[in-house]
């Protein structure tokens, strides 16, 4: 689904022959998955100077000391005209808020999926995690169901509950299917930002398969087979990093040592808005086909260079979402974010 995902798989393939080494040195004895499950609320905002960055904030229930687990992800889609990739940063830690509205974020893990369109496959760093703890301070205010965050430009924004924003989605038109794709893709992008080595030769690591837990529920199983020509399989199982967005199914990338190949697999998504009327709950379900006939997502040099994510809403609209064009409509437009 995600352009970044496509890209990443390609590099992973090449990297195989590099013994999983390229990019910077790995940390010694580094655990691959350190995510702690969070039961809480997912908030979403449009951020950045042009509002194009999507910010997702998941805050759990506070413990006896007032500290709540949190996860924050900032997602940018970057296009150079011939490909489209993702740049993602994720923070995990604890959120301590006082009555005055001041909040202290103790960040335990910082994940980075850099944009590396112009970087050769073997020099890419891919997703990495920094476990150096640090503290950030923000101010928060809640009003009319919105959460306003200020004091830190990287996190600032007017957040709305995602399950409420999902009410803006329709089901019948091609635009609705396109929006469904980009919303489902949020969950894929957050997962890619936690798969250590994603979009780099470090994917060779997954010749020994690994499962990453969803922050809210489920998990994603990552495996790679082959050496020069490789097959990377990223399989979601009830995966939920973003509240209200559930993913199940495989994303498969076959590529040669130059990072060129194609994707396949059909991923199912479920988008569950919070209904205004409890009796009217209507979860939007559908599929994203990565390898639909002649529209299979193509990869060259580790970047998606053609094809489409063929998205179909069950009983509703369908869309051919270009693998290289910027989102149109954007997530902010789909969800009518403030």
């Amino acid at each position: 689904v995600t352009p970044a995902a496509s890209r990443t798989r390609g590099p992973a393939v090449l990297l195989a022959l590099a013994l999983g080494a390229c990019g910077r040195y790995a940390d010694l004895a580094q655990k691959l998955d350190v995510t702690a499950r969070i039961a809480g609320d997912t908030w979403i905002a449009a951020g950045g100077h042009d509002g194009a960055q999507i910010r997702i904030l998941l805050v759990g229930r506070p413990d006896a000391h007032g500290a709540a687990p949190f996860a924050f992800t900032a997602i940018d889609n970057v296009s150079n005209g011939s490909t489209l990739v993702s740049r993602v940063t994720t923070l995990q830690g604890t959120w301590s808020e006082v009555a005055s509205g001041a909040a202290t974020l103790r960040v335990a893990h910082t994940y980075t999926l850099p944009e590396e369109i112009g970087t050769s496959l073997y020099s890419r760093q891919g997703t990495s995690r920094d476990d150096a703890e640090h503290t950030r301070r923000i101010a928060v205010a809640r009003d009319a169901g919105r959460l306003s965050v200020s004091g830190d430009d990287a996190l600032a924004g007017t957040y709305v509950p995602l399950v409420e924003a999902l009410r803006a989605l329709g089901t019948s038109t091609a635009r609705d299917a396109t929006c469904a794709f980009w919303i489902a893709d949020l969950g894929i992008q957050t997962s890619e930002a936690r798969i250590i080595g994603f979009n780099s030769p470090g994917m060779y690591q997954y010749q020994q398969a690994e499962t990453y837990a969803g922050t809210i529920a489920g998990g994603v199983h990552v495996s790679l087979s082959g050496t020069l020509a490789t097959t990377t399989r990223i399989e979601y199982a009830g995966f939920q990093d973003v509240g209200g967005v559930v993913l199940t199914g495989p994303q498969v990338t076959d590529a040669d040592s130059g990072g060129s190949g194609h994707m396949s697999g059909v991923l199912r998504f479920a988008l569950a808005p919070l209904p205004l009327d409890p009796a009217g709950a209507a979860t939007i379900t559908g599929t994203i086909d990565y390898g639909s006939g002649g529209d299979a997502v193509q990869i060259s040099g580790g970047n998606p260079t053609g094809g489409a994510y063929v998205t179909a809403i069950d009983g509703g609209g369908t869309a051919r979402v270009s693998a290289i064009a910027p989102p149109a409509p954007t997530v902010a437009q789909c969800l009518a974010l403030p």
Partner: protein
Amino acid sequence: VAPSLLLALAIAAAPAPEPSGAPPAEEAHAERLDGWRHAIGIGVHSAQLSSKEGSQYTFHSGSIGYLGSVGVTGPFLQAFFLVPLQARQDGEVYSTATYYRQRRGADLLLGAEHRWALGPGLELEAGPGLHGTFIYLPGKEGYRDFSAFPLGLGASGVLRWATRAERLRRTVTIDGYASVAYDFRDPLHADDLAHGFAVRVGVSMGLGAVR
């Protein structure tokens, strides 16, 4: 390993040659510095890497390998297999057996040497060369793999003592060896190696001059 094992077997199994008369001292001296030297060695290897990201890694390994050279002045090759036993990063110490399912490595030094006679039965060989270390630590389930392939320049010294024993018409030697290296390039991590150092010391047994 195979050449080393064959050499060891040859040293152990070959029949002792017939005693021979002593050649003139100076002539014997010159002859004794010439020719091939083969040995198998065992020792310890330490490699330190500094990354551009600011981390410092140290690996302490056991090593076993081959040391060979030819001529009073000539080429030499030292090739060792490594078993990384302990690793450190920024002050934290890790037992490699705890986190990695396999521990593999190699160290290679290829260069030019010169030999000096230090006295009866005692010979020193030293010279510079090209150096490379390879470390590969695939992680246990749930842990990330680690690899490094620093390349650079090094120098080696071997001190040989000729015993009275002979195998294959050559003197059996007991040696001490040491090498140092400065590494500045990692083709697998070209973006991240700032510099590295490697030290290898050990003892070896081999075949020296033709008797």
